[in-house]
Amino acid sequence: MRAGFVIRKCIGAVSTLAFVVVFNFFLFRIVNRDPVNSMFRGRNLKPEKLAELRQKFNLDGSKWDQFVAYVRQLLHGDLGYSLKGFRPVATVIGETLWPTVLLVGSSTILAMIGITLGYRAGWRRGSTFDTTATSMSMLTYSMPEFWIGMVFLGLFSAKLGWFPVGGLEDPGSNATGLSQWIDQLHHMMLPAIVLGLAYVGEYMIVARSAMIETLNEDYLQLARAKGMRDDEVRRRHAVPNARLPVVSLSAINFGFIFGGAIAVESIFSWPGIGQATYLAVRGPDLPMLQGLFLLISAGVILANLVADLLYGKLDPRVAGR
């Protein structure tokens, strides 16, 4: 991969992030012109306290000054203060980040099973496997992910009692080490399955059509003529080419899964970023929302960057070699 390619992509990512920061700031500023006022409405505050708060919230000076102050705060890791209990947003994020990473990570891995299914379905287009897999994918794709969560929760937790009804751990449990891990895993299984199920269809359909596109290529016939076995032709020649659109999709899908996590976490009371967002929306806790939005966008931009670089590695035509 040429260095130029990598640098270009990184610059692109940074500029998109910058755009998001600007967008974020002005959007919230337009709506929430005076957060101090809305927070402490009706309460009497000493002027010094008021001035201090105003400074904290960057309400002094022109819009440009406010923006600069905002960016400076960001670079120091200060994301403002939540309206709920006046806790620093950054702290709340710190607490809720890991559970979401865990959930989104495992769901993505589960959803990626769809990729292998898709390759197989595309390879044997029109077969029973193909039609079954495609119909199932269309079915799950048509359901809102939080609804799948509700159904699963209703059936497997409330009715059958196989899984806990929500949360990260059993309330009041003081288990540590391995048993804590197992408890958390048990709690995570249902939401992870739900989230994975919601997006497996997408992966499957894209992988399938990518495979179908490669089926027409001449180099597959050449590989067969060389005396290769059918499944090897698929693995060594078709898949490496079919992989490319899938990689692009993965980046986009990451953004969607994050979105899906918002609703699913709220259903399962999973204490992650998603639930924090849900509560912030319901509040409404605008500073919190602003910080969360920035974080989620940054995560997705990063995922896109990784996918772009990966694509460059897999497809020599793109990276300018």
């Binding site: 180099y219 060389k226 490496p240 897999l314 020599p316 035509r317």
Partner: protein, 324 residues
């Protein structure tokens, strides 16, 4: 024992619109060291013949007749035997279009793959690399180019890579399927020269498939002309080109103006009409619709190959008579 023998080969494709007969009874024999050209317009079935030899036809294709490679019927082989025979008994030099080679793999690796598939006990990486380098040099490409990807090579270079690839397992038979079609004339000449040289040096049998008749006269000793899935003329290539028996061959030969001949430059004679649609062939002789010497019986009589003179045959009512 002949290297390749096609006995009454029929290939029919099953499509949504019905059965399409692409090849309708081909008989062809190649002995060791023979060079045979198979000429015809697009749609006449010649590429189907190439694919049929190594059993590379798509699933919807029905094949009857026999395809004997070194005496063995390809269509009676078990899958394992078939895979072993592919590339080692016969190899195909495909047209060097951009996607004949896997775009995300280096060209050297793709050649090495062929070697490794057929290596008896897993050749060492070093030996394989050395062999790949050898093959590349043999076709006039510096061995270092093996590290490149297909899109980094020119059309001519890609074609040479495909030739090198075809030679990787030392086959007896090379089937060249339109190897020079996408190339410009200078490069074409180079590739042809290369093929001739290799054929001579290694005593290969060559089945050269193309629509370009003029190319065949030089590279191949024998020539067979296909039309609508059948061979309609065969004989020594130079003689067939110089004095064709079949009206179609005549038209085909005349379409290529001879360089340096002012008369033919001023007077190129093409052929009216389009190649026949395999799913809707005319009755009788399939060529009669476009033929300028067709008689009444041509519309009803489906002619088989007739002897025209020693070693020459053509499928036309006018052949074998005194009429020229």
């Amino acid at each position: 024992m002949s290297v390749l023998e096609l006995r009454d080969l029929h290939v029919t494709y099953r499509t949504s619109g019905g059965d399409v007969p692409a090849v309708r009874g081909i008989n062809l024999t190649l002995e060791r060291g023979d060079t045979v050209g198979l000429a015809g317009e697009s749609g006449c079935g010649k590429s189907t013949v190439a694919a049929a030899v190594l059993r590379l036809l798509p699933k919807g294709a029905t094949v009857t007749g026999e395809v004997l490679l070194d005496g063995e019927d390809v269509y009676a082989m078990k899958p394992g035997r078939l895979r072993a025979v592919r590339w080692t008994s016969a190899a195909i030099v495909f047209q060097g279009a951009l996607h004949s080679l896997n775009p995300v793999r280096r060209v050297g690796q793709q050649i090495a793959e062929a070697i490794q598939i057929h290596a008896e006990r897993g050749a060492s990486a070093q030996r394989t690399d050395a062999r790949v380098g050898e093959l590349l040099e043999r076709v006039g490409i510096p061995a270092a180019r093996g590290q490149h990807y297909p899109h980094q090579l020119s059309g001519g270079q890609r074609q040479r890579v495909l030739i090198a690839l075809a030679l990787a397992c030392e086959p007896n038979l090379l089937i060249a399927d339109e190897p020079t079609t996408a190339l410009d004339v200078m490069v074409q000449a180079q590739v042809l020269a290369l093929l001739e040289e290799l054929q001579r040096d290694q005593g290969l049998s060559l089945l050269f498939i193309t629509h370009d008749l003029s190319v065949l006269t030089h590279t191949c000793k024998q020539l067979a002309v296909m039309y609508a899935g059948r061979i309609i003329e065969e004989g020594p290539s130079e003689v067939v080109f110089a004095s064709p028996e079949h009206p179609y061959t005549r038209a085909l030969a005349a379409s290529f103006p001879s360089i340096g001949d002012p008369a033919s430059r001023m007077n190129p004679r093409g052929l009216a009409g389009d190649p026949p649609d395999p799913s809707a062939l005319p009755t009788g002789c399939p060529f009669h619709v476009r033929c300028d010497v067709a008689t009444a019986e041509c519309a009803t009589l489906d002619v088989a190959l007739r002897d025209a003179s020693v070693g020459r045959r053509a499928a036309c009512v006018h052949v074998g008579s005194t009429r020229v």
